[in-house]
Assembly symmetry: C2
Homo-oligomer: 514 residues x 2
């Protein structure tokens, strides 16, 4: 078999079954293989950032890697912004980049680039296959590395002659090694902290907030000790809703995060960093926890964090406690003109059972988490790395991973324009995604920043932050790419559109002017 066949065969055997791709000439052998090696679903995209974001969304929901296929350095460069987010999300992802043939690079043809330099900072594993004979083994190592805790991005660069060379053979992916257990003393110290009577927060990093079992262990510890459960603002996937222990995200706004965290003098961290501000704002602190607070790392991301929580539960005798569970509470549908508050209440009222919510709502969505906390159980995915344009791509990946669930994508207009090509893939694959576009026609968050500088912002500065003039017609954009769309002017119309959209089990877009 050739190298490309050995690649696909290895990936399929290792359980990698979906490839989000935008191939080029140097990847044509990989594409050609799709008809001969069965088991790999190719999902085409019109821009690489859609593929990397979709592979992230797939991994968040499937809890295993997809692969993404890119065309040389520039193709991979287009994927980097969402690879940045995926890296921060700590999801497994196999990133395959075609390159010039090994013997051709010396001529420095136009598309030549140092792909390793482009991808190194986002890759926990990185290799350029030297020959077709090595591709199967390298692909197996890539999958194993991506899946070993902490999960991450494995980048495999395949010169085109490694794809067409005929001496390929599939690699074998062995069992993924379990992460090492946390130190016994780390457990003991956590027990001591949680019994010393001082107010304590436990911060749960990814992937802890995605499992009901884990959340209930954490919830029993919280019930036994009075500790509060927190998650970073940039949470990869939060399982939440009625009947589940509540975990609160640290707010983005420094002036909200500071008082929230000021209530605690101790922080127990599981795979999470000490909360810091998203940006440096002049005159505001970088670190959000109170000065002198005790910080204790119970387990780091490369350790057995679930095991550490279980050990802690046992050591505290917390198993006999009942976790405090979020009571069911879904608002009644509000009516009238669209307001930020009404928007949150409507979304909460209409959120279907087992929804996968993808939230890139930026300023429009600051009330969404609070409004939906008592909704039927659902998963909430957010932008983990601050690189905007992840919402619709993430939704595509989530919908491919969970075809029986409804994806609700809460999308700011400015961020949505970054990767609007995602709409075409949603239509092509007929994915059950209901996209709400919050059309405030500005980079609203930046207008707030500009105002915060004081003085009167000038017209030329403000002009750079307006994305109206001309207004974007999101309904027309969606329809032009095959996605039905409607614009709503009232909360009642929004509720109806959400209901219809979810019921359609197909992609649909709702433009919500603000």
């Amino acid at each position: 078999m050739n190298g490309a066949e050995s690649l696909v065969e290895t990936l399929v055997r290792a359980g990698v079954e979906v490839c989000f791709m935008n191939p080029g000439t140097s990847e044509i052998h990989f594409v050609e293989t799709l008809d001969r090696v069965r088991g790999m679903r190719g999902v085409p995209v019109l821009f690489e950032g859609v593929a990397s974001g979709a592979a992230d969304g797939y991994a968040r929901m499937a809890e295993k890697p997809a692969c993404a296929l890119f065309h040389l350095g520039p193709g991979c460069a287009n994927a980097l912004a969402n690879l940045h987010n995926a890296c921060r999300a700590r999801v497994p992802l196999v990133n395959i980049v075609g390159d010039h043939a090994t013997y051709h690079r010396r001529y420095d043809p136009p598309l030549n680039a140092d792909i390793e330099m482009l991808t190194r900072q986002y890759s926990k594993w990185l290799r350029t296959s030297p020959s077709s004979a090595a591709v199967g083994r390298d692909a197996a190592e890539a999958v194993a590395s991506a899946r070993t805790a902490p999960a991450g991005i494995a980048t495999l660069i395949l010169p085109s002659d490694t794809a067409w060379g005929e001496d390929g053979s599939p690699g074998e992916v062995g069992p993924i090694p379990p992460p090492p257990r946390a130190d016994t003393r780390a457990i003991e110290q956590a027990v001591a902290m949680l019994r010393n009577g001082r107010p304590t927060a436990i911060i749960l990093g990814p992937p802890l907030t995605q499992s009901e079992t884990t959340l209930k262990v954490a919830g029993r510890i919280a019930a036994a000790t009075g500790a509060k459960l927190l998650a970073p603002f940039s949470v990869t996937r939060a399982r939440r809703g009625a009947g589940l222990p509540a975990v609160e995200r640290v707010p983005y706004i420094v002036d909200q995060a500071l008082p929230m965290l000021a209530r605690f003098s101790q922080f127990v961290l599981l795979g999470a960093a000490v909360p810091a501000a998203f940006f440096a704002w002049r005159g505001k602190p970088s670190v959000l926890v109170p000065e002198g607070a005790a910080i204790h790392i119970l387990a780091s991301a490369d350790q057995d964090m679930d095991g550490a929580l279980s050990d802690l539960e046992t050591a505290l005798g917390a198993g006999r406690f009942e976790p405090i569970l979020q009571p069911a509470a879904q608002p009644v549908r509000p009516s009238g003109l669209i307001t930020i508050e009404g928007l949150a209440a409507t979304i909460a009222a209409m959120l279907p059972q087992e929804a996968i919510v993808v939230d890139e709502s930026i300023t429009s969505g600051r009330g969404f988490m609070a409004a939906t906390k008592g909704c039927p159980p659902h998963d909430w995915l957010v932008n983990t790395g601050g690189s905007i344009g992840i919402g619709m791509p993430l939704s595509i990946g989530a919908a491919v991973a969970c075809p029986d669930r409804a994806v609700v994508c809460l999308q700011a207009d400015g961020s949505g324009m970054y990767t609007l090509q995602a709409l075409w893939t949603a239509a092509r694959e007929n994915l059950a995604i209901t996209i709400l576009i919050f059309a405030n026609r500005a980079y609203q968050i930046l207008k707030s920043e500009l105002a915060a500088l004081g003085g009167n912002p000038g017209p030329r500065a403000l002009d750079m932050l307006e994305i109206g003039r001309p207004d974007l017609d999101w309904c027309a954009l969606a329809r032009a790419m095959g996605v039905p769309a409607r614009r709503v002017e009232t909360l009642e119309a929004l509720a109806r559109a959400m209901q219809d959209g979810v019921a359609s089990h197909a992609p649909n877009l709702i433009e919500v002017p603000l």
Copy 2:
């Protein structure tokens, strides 16, 4: 003044007057400055790849740098694909990237990235300013470096505290040092080659093909010696048309390039590499010149290439020769259904005087150069690095640089989708760009590659290369972003649409189904 003011003041004094931008929180001080330091035009974009491509197009036509402003590592990552093209085009460009405050990076907030690692391979000059006091000096050095031959990308990374710090002062850009003259022996050797009677090609790298003066010197040398003038396939800007010496591009297709170059046994290079294949194709050579051909570097890109051509002209006594000039020949408007040949003839028939043609037509446009060679004088810009999605961004930059000329953008549909957000900026700035979208609804070039592999391509493979199903409605996409559009079904309709579009002096799009 603060660092941001010192930055803008320095840039404006150095003749950098346009900034294509997509700013974020860390760049807000730069934006705020636009109202206080006069002379900088901010052009907003909805995706960073539009800004980098536009800065490239501006530089190609204005022959001086614009700046581009990006938001941290991920914002810059989105710009990289077109920075790759700009790097290959050897255009001057000042790439400004905001970063976290110097004291904030240690907390590794979500948007943290190694921006230097992302940009190093594309930057001839790269620096992170350490303080607001240094910003003015660093900006001056960036402009000087970008403009020093060979022109290139200067990347200046500005931590946000260097923007708001109050001890800024403008830097001074001194005269740009002239490039060193080529070695006298290199001139002598070229003279000897051009007089030895063997068939010789002179290959002109950027920026030689953009100046009529330079072309005429080269044309006189060709007339005196019988040498043929060539340019690389990936030409930055070709000045061409009736009354100008003709320079032929080396074809993309290896089977066309080989016989063309087989006619020569000697190659004289000015800032150009030995022609090599765009990709490695199995069984085809990487190097396109005949084995054993004599290669002579008359001048490299960092030397005075114009001076070397002049010296060569003098040494050959070629000044008294008349260059062979392209005769005027514009086809009459063809009629009937749209064919590839009819398309080329129609575009040639309708090309306005002094058009700036931006050609990212890929497979649809292989006959365009031949059809337009006798058109009224115009400039022809192509994708220089193979990273697709440059056409509309390049057109925006060219139109900003030359508001009195008509830009005609020949755009393949697949490539166009990469950076379709450019349409909004074209509308916002009311730029005189007529965009022809060649809608073959496939990555046609890849379908040819797949077919060339032999056997019968399978349906799953072919499916990855079709970008119909659903078809993209380009007219609706354009209108949704404020650009008037029409679809044409005949060559007559295309001719009328081009005439109307150019006459409108405003952005307009013509969808050409193929």
